[in-house]
């Protein structure tokens, strides 16, 4: 009974804090972007402009929820939900702290990869159902980008799996007690992070949205809370990738004793979220073919090489 209660409390608490965080990231992103662009950002509503979150949410709620008459209605409605659901499901496997973990899958990483693959559906279906040429172009780009970056996203993690000997994220964190995997797998770390940016289609890899070319890409036709779902889904995606990087390469909740584990986890994750925003502030968007060429011609061979070397070293040390 008590165990069930803690379980439910963990789920509710995690859901609440994640959705709040995703909403707060609207404010964080705007303030940080402003910081790196010599501006101030929203600072009027409430302390430090924090109420901009409330204002933005209210505005989204009161916008007309328009479903285009030329769209494929059922699919159009489902698409944004898929994004949020898949991202939220991925969070179930992340160990936030020793006790705070919803499911300890022994195939945790595979589950994460599966969910991020499913996330592609939201973009493809959303773009397709909109029945709009810009949306469709965005969806096509999004699909090819996410599918190809998924390949070496998975492969770059295999080094970590080899070193820890487990797919379970809790075991991976435990395996980093002596040294974080970023020291042993720097190449894997960089590639996973790049693939993560492409996976969340954030700048500089926001090619499915590319507002200067495609209006708003796959979500051109979305309004009100359906757009809000894509919006929140994107921020949740950033949080997810940051949390995954923290867990896999930076020792998760491990850290010196003076702070509780959950604080270490939050700190590391937040640092990566800030780095995501810094990337947006500093890098231009590559061309579509450059992105694909970079993925298949540079990142994939490097990942395979990394995998080969890691495997050889692990074998050598075992014997």
């Amino acid at each position: 009974m008590n165990e069930t209660l803690t379980y439910i409390l963990t789920i509710v608490g995690e859901l609440f804090s994640l959705l709040t965080l995703a909403a707060l990231l609207i404010w964080v992103e705007r303030r940080m972007l402003a910081l790196w662009q010599d501006r101030l950002g929203p600072n009027r509503a409430g302390p430090f402009g924090l109420f901009i979150v409330v204002a933005d949410t209210l505005k989204l709620f009161f916008k007309e929820d328009w479903i285009p008459p030329f769209s494929e209605k059922a699919v159009f409605v489902i698409a944004p939900a898929i994004l949020v659901i898949t991202v939220l499901l991925s969070f179930t496997i992340i160990p936030f702290a020793p006790g705070i973990l919803i499911t300890d899958f022994n195939i945790g990483i595979l589950f994460f990869l599966a969910m991020s693959s499913l996330g592609v559906y939201s973009i493809v279906l959303g773009g397709w159902a909109s029945n709009n040429k810009y949306s469709l172009l965005g969806a096509l780009r999004g699909a090819s980008q996410m599918i190809s970056y998924e390949v070496f996203m998975g492969l770059s993690l295999m080094g970590v799996v080899m070193l820890s000997g487990s797919f379970s994220l809790r075991d991976i964190v435990e395996a980093q007690r002596n040294h974080w995997f970023i020291l042993l797998q720097p190449v894997g770390f960089v590639i996973f992070f790049i693939a993560g940016i492409a996976e969340t289609h954030r700048l500089p890899f926001d090619i499915p949205e590319a507002e200067s070319e495609l209006v708003a890409g796959f979500h051109s036709e979305y309004s009100s809370m359906k757009f809000g779902m894509f919006f929140i889904g994107e921020y949740l995606g950033i949080t997810l990738i940051s949390a995954m990087v923290t867990t896999l390469f930076l020792g998760g909740w491990l850290g010196p004793e003076f702070l509780p584990p959950i604080c270490w986890f939050a700190l590391k994750t937040f640092a990566f979220i800030l780095f995501f925003i810094l990337l947006r502030a500093s890098l231009p968007r590559p061309r579509y073919d450059q992105l694909m060429g970079y993925g298949w011609k540079v990142l994939l061979p490097v990942t395979l090489l990394n995998l080969l070397v890691t495997g050889a070293v692990v074998l050598l040390l075992k014997n």
Binding site: A34, L35, W36, L278, L279, L283
Partner: protein
């Protein structure tokens, strides 16, 4: 690759730069004296209206926001009967100021003319007239014009020679 890392680094250094933002209602940006803002009608040094109702400003206005009707007083001095500027149309291009032959219409560095009601943006003559001379102090059109409109007698203006007596033979 190096250039990417370099640009990330350089962007992050912008954190410590001075902000370009001016927090408007508390702090105001310094406006130049020739900033083109609200339009005013100025008076000459004697406190009379400078406007002579020549319609050149209305003709120059690209958005047709100036409307006026000229009339004359008992001294045959021309002045506008009404002078109306619709600021909801005005684009603050300053063509009216350039067209004005008597320096009457001027744009001043004031842009805070927002209203809740669009109709309140239509300024009548009493709203436009100011008691000062604006950017050209000391200028009085009727002092340099040849016309006698009660300001000076014929031949007594600035840079004006007395009229020649055509009935006299004296040089």
């Amino acid at each position: 690759m190096f250039s990417i890392i370099r640009s990330i680094w350089l962007t992050s250094l912008h954190m410590f730069r001075k902000r370009a933002t001016i927090e408007y209602p508390e702090h105001k940006a310094p406006l130049h004296p020739r900033y083109r803002g609200r339009i005013v009608l100025t008076r000459d040094p004697d406190g009379m209206e400078r406007c002579v109702g020549c319609y050149l400003c209305a003709a120059a206005c690209p958005v047709d926001c100036i409307a006026l009707q000229a009339t004359e007083d008992e001294n045959h001095r021309r002045y506008p009967e009404f002078f109306r500027i619709n600021f909801s149309r005005c684009i603050f291009c300053g063509y009216c100021e350039e067209a004005c032959p008597t320096y009457a219409i001027q744009l001043i560095p004031d842009f805070e003319i927002s209203e809740y009601d669009r109709q309140n943006l239509v300024y009548e003559k009493q709203d436009l007239l100011i008691s000062g001379e604006g950017k050209y102090p000391g200028y009085n059109y009727y002092k340099v014009a040849g016309l006698d409109a009660g300001v000076k007698n014929k031949g007594e203006g600035d840079n004006e020679e007395p009229p020649i007596d055509i009935h006299s033979l004296l040089p």
